[in-house]
Assembly symmetry: C2
Homo-oligomer: 328 residues x 2
């Protein structure tokens, strides 16, 4: 099996590549080749069982998507994106990468597949940012997509393209609306949602963290471990079960910032909590307050997708996976 990961240098991409390399198989099929692509060449995961090609690719540059498609992977994970804060600050870059790049990929697959029976499965990372206020307390699977950011708009467009290209039989798509992935390891990125991880990750490491929004803000979360699990499940699921709606809200858990903080106290004590410094940022609050607070992801649950059910479990997953089980 040949697997292509786009956005393989990103956080989820690296974890996914590492997991595929370790497992050396997907759904009983050996992983013979991994093609890892990103705007900077990704690093090959340790112990890759077959061939592993690491490529610097910008999908929005003419010809680059075609080059990837000509490799004819059986499975494509499309995680490449400019994140929300950056897509909001830089309109042209956001549309170029998130819209043009995604469309170039799907078009390259169409052209490469013409006259052949090559129809790769495409797992597309969408986001709950496709939803925007005013929203009901719990968003169900039939609710209107009304993004309030350019990033959310671009992801919603990606979903529509994925559905149309799947319906036409050009590719076999499944789109996953990822909850805010938390706790993100490593350094902050330019996502407006970054503080949700920061207020857990930095205190666990003995460092101060900035909280730019009120404690009462409620949001929808899943761990990086759960996100990788979604991707792998989407890669093996019988796609006929999706009907004509290949895009799905993923499971997660709904928590307020206050509940996040109490879970941090439960796992790491008062000393960690004391490292959170409140510094309101109206620009971040304006972006985040329009986001969904909770979902009823009935379709995804029925299809076997699973996630954590307590925020303390999310924190413990971070401590186990990123900190060797020891709080710094």
């Amino acid at each position: 099996m040949h697997i292509l990961i786009l956005g393989a240098a990103g956080m989820i991409g690296r974890k996914l590549a590492g997991r595929l390399a370790r497992d050396a198989a997907l759904d009983g099929h050996p992983v013979q080749r991994l093609t890892l692509a990103d705007v900077v060449a990704p690093t090959a995961p340790a112990g890759c069982p077959g061939a592993c090609d690491c490529l610097a690719v910008d999908l929005s540059v003419p010809g680059e998507a075609a080059g990837l498609a000509s490799r004819r992977p059986d499975l494509v994970f499309h995680l490449a994106a400019v994140v929300s804060g950056e897509a909001e600050a830089e309109l042209e870059k956001g549309y170029r990468v998130n819209l043009d790049g995604t469309r170039a990929l799907f078009e390259a697959i169409r052209r490469e597949g013409e006259g052949t029976d090559w129809r790769p499965r495409v797992v597309f990372a969408s986001s709950t940012a496709v939803f925007g206020g005013p929203l009901p307390d719990v968003v169900d699977d039939d609710y209107l997509l009304t993004p309030q950011t350019s990033y959310g708009t671009q992801k919603a467009i990606g979903e529509l393209l994925l559905a149309d290209y799947s319906r036409r039989g050009i590719l076999r798509g499944i789109g996953l609306r990822l909850p805010t992935v938390c706790v993100r390891p490593g350094r902050p990125n330019r996502a407006a949602s970054g503080f949700f991880s920061g207020i857990i990750r930095e205190p666990l490491a003995g460092q101060e963290a900035i909280l730019p929004v009120p404690d009462t803000l409620r949001h929808w979360f899943a761990s990086p471990r759960a996100a990788v699990g979604f991707m792998l499940h989407a890669a093996t699921l019988d796609l006929h079960r999706l009907g004509d709606r290949p895009n799905l809200a993923m499971p997660g858990l709904s928590a307020t910032v206050a509940e996040q903080i109490e879970a941090l106290r439960e796992v790491a004590g008062d000393r960690a909590v004391a490292l959170i410094r409140r510094e309101p940022d109206p620009a971040i609050e304006r972006i985040v307050e329009g986001w969904a607070r909770a979902f009823d992801p009935a379709r995804a649950l029925a299809l076997g997708f699973t996630a954590e059910t307590t925020f303390a479990d999310i924190i413990r997953a971070h401590v186990a996976d990123e900190m060797g089980g020891r709080i710094g």
Copy 2:
């Protein structure tokens, strides 16, 4: 006031231009200039009170949208599109015109407006084809967009772009999801929905018409007269009333094909009805059966949009507006 109509050679575009020329004013402002654009140069309406420029423009050709934007109209009606049957048959053409063309227009407005306070109102013609089955019997204003055609996909993407560019303050957008416009005058076009008009229009003119779907098929309609009314109302409405959701389902009426036929009998008698010939077409049925059957357009009604309430009224509007009040 300077008004630009894109798609001005189309059926709604011609009626709208004619109406603006006749009224010579919109919301109390005199119409000083009409710019009418289409892929073939439109014809100027009779009695245009101010300047009237008729241009052949393909929005998807680089530079053409910029040329239009440089004229700085106060109001843009964007009706230009490849219709559903054609966009389904010709993937590249549909995406080029319906997606790239719309995006080029919005981008041209952004660039032209930079550093100025020019922010035109853009009335965008969307379609109920943004919805696809399985659907509830009545679709409300919060229901998910799941197009089952490339045309519907492209219109849904246009809505998302309109909302994002409006939110960013680049333009002042309002998108109208038009019901199937019926009775369309003139010759059939390549829309998959064409027969809904054909089974009324041809018999009224004493000609045979083909019915490719079952009598039980239910659909959502408004007359061309109502559609022009939607456009003019959207052109003058206080857009702040839309909140962050500038795209709206328009009012209409829900009727089965059997109810259409009974209304034809009411207006034109058994002889007209006898001219309808049943000739099932699975390709058309497959497209149309996924479309919405009825809407609860609560937002549009609250904003003052209005349409016919009986199908016989729709037929009478056609007889009055297109046949000089006399059934052929």
